[in-house]
Subunit: 331 residues, 2 copies
């Protein structure tokens, strides 16, 4: 007997256990390199660090939900996880991160070179994997997602410290850094299952909204979560001068004095003791935290509504539950 009810991603993991075993076996096989042992060392450090494998599960769930019984959803799920892992390796170099999932980052344990080149290797491996099912529409979706992800990263780099960045640009960055891979993950599940077009679209919409909700929650918790739950310290984004949704909302409502404050701490990066506390006061004053929370909840609702048109099933219920779960930490 279980003492606590399972969380949605645990239910998904149980329902898709056989498929996930196949995905994990394929990942281990394809991250090997006969000639360059550094590659599996670095990859294993990240892949086996105990992430939730949320993205590959989305692909598996979407394919099964649409009645797929072929072998290729496993390749596509592994593809999605490889793209995600490659992105993390490069992100940690770009952000000069020292911790990820509570462990030292690869760029710290090895070096930036290893992270850049092993990331490239995983990108290449992901493209090999996505070619294998021989489905051109899948290739189109995943190669487009890769471009949106990379564009979003560049956009974030240039927009993050610019106070002119508005909610529309923020949404673009969030689609790039998170939602594009979520929506591609669910969409290719439907495509490989040869699902009707309206179902493929519903799966895309679900992944897109889920990814956006997921990222907004992450950005919100950075100004008010507890370290144990997030693995991040409150104010990391503030110290790294990353303009995220709560601050964008506070800047939009700022008077001249407040605007000068944001200009100094974010654009100029001239931060002093007490600045984070003042920032939190301004976020509270303008209701920016509550408004951000409301946005996240709205995206979560949108995700659930999107898949209401799909045939009812346990998997659909679990995806519903997952959309609730990603916002559970803030609701």
């Amino acid at each position: 007997m279980r003492d606590t009810p399972q969380k949605p991603h645990e239910q998904l993991a149980e329902a898709l256990a056989g498929d996930m075993d196949a995905v994990n076996a394929l990942i281990r096989k394809r991250m090997a390199s006969e000639h360059a042992p550094r590659i599996p060392e670095v990859t294993a450090h990240l892949v086996e660090a105990g992430g939730k494998r949320l993205r590959p599960m989305l692909t598996l769930a979407a394919a099964r939900l649409c009645g797929y019984d072929g072998p290729y959803h496993v390749h596509l799920a592994a593809t999605v996880e490889f793209i995600h892992t490659a992105t993390l390796l490069h992100d940690d170099v770009v952000d000069e991160s020292k911790q990820r999932r509570g462990r030292p980052t690869a760029n710290l344990l090895w070096d930036n070179k290893s992270s850049v080149l092993v990331g490239d290797y995983l990108f290449a491996r992901s493209f090999q994997l996505m070619v294998e099912p021989g489905n051109l529409r899948v290739l189109d979706i995943l190669s487009n997602a890769a471009a949106v992800i990379a564009e979003g990263e560049v956009l974030q780099m240039t927009a993050a410290q610019d106070l002119k960045t508005d909610e529309a640009v923020y949404l673009q960055v969030v689609r790039g850094k998170t939602a594009a891979l979520f929506s591609a993950a669910t969409q290719v599940g439907g495509v490989i299952a040869a699902a009707p077009e309206d179902q493929v679209q519903a799966l895309y919409d679900y992944g897109d909204a889920l990814g956006i909700a997921f990222q907004i929650v992450d950005d919100l918790l950075d100004y008010g979560g507890d370290t144990a739950a997030t693995g991040k310290n409150v104010g990391d984004d503030f110290r790294e001068r990353k303009l995220t949704l709560p601050v964008i909302k506070a800047v939009a409502a700022a008077d001249d004095t407040e605007r000068a404050f944001w200009k100094r701490v974010i654009e100029k990066g001239d931060q002093q003791d007490g600045d984070l506390d003042h920032a939190l006061e301004l976020l509270a004053k303008h209701g920016a935290m509550d408004a951000t929370r409301a946005d996240a909840l709205a995206w979560s609702e949108k995700a659930k509504t999107a898949i209401d048109t799909l045939p009812a099933s346990d998997l659909r219920d679990m995806l519903h539950g997952l959309a609730d779960y990603v916002v559970a930490r803030i609701s």
Copy 2:
């Protein structure tokens, strides 16, 4: 009237001028980014620096040689150039380079972040481009090449300062860093033209051997070329402790004292004034420079022989000439 006879790559550029214009237009179009202007800035710096466009020309020449008259050789040529450009951006970060083609590198003009992320964007763009012709074999070849390239880079990083690195490992590194893209470039030209299998194989063999010759020449000139011709200073690889073919040959023939020298300067990186001169003496003493030169010439011959089976044509003659040209600087 021309005063000097054209060089082979200039002949190719003239023969393929219309196609190359289309490739350049496609490159400019696809390196654009609506949202992140940093992307075309960085890309243009590299793409428009006046490289010879050797790799895309190989794809165009191979396709035309096999009678192709469709539109997709242009996409594949642009793909190959994007992969090459992405690799250069990441290489310069990994090597901490300050100059490329006689100009400051992107990582110096902007920063490492921009080079990593814009490189990722170009990789993603290259995959979008290669998907468009809808040819699964082309995708297989190019995604495999991308993996070999990345694996070769990682292998080089770990093997370059290890005196146990032998000629077999060197060849693997060289295939990764140079020949894999050359051979993929020529091979996909044949495949898109639906050429018979023996012609596709001949084109692959040509590209492979040409790429190896090209890289051996580059490594040889590092110990004996003039700066104006190479854009590099004599001894760059020595100072960066990169084990290349001349040194591998000298190490294989070294006595105990010489081995201790190589161990100190390459493995330990403890270099002093006069060490480069001593290294050059050892290379001369063991005939390592002559032996390396002979290897490059042999690969150039192999490239020419490979395409002897193809139907005679002006383009085939130019590819012959190109194989002579890449070793002309050392013969």
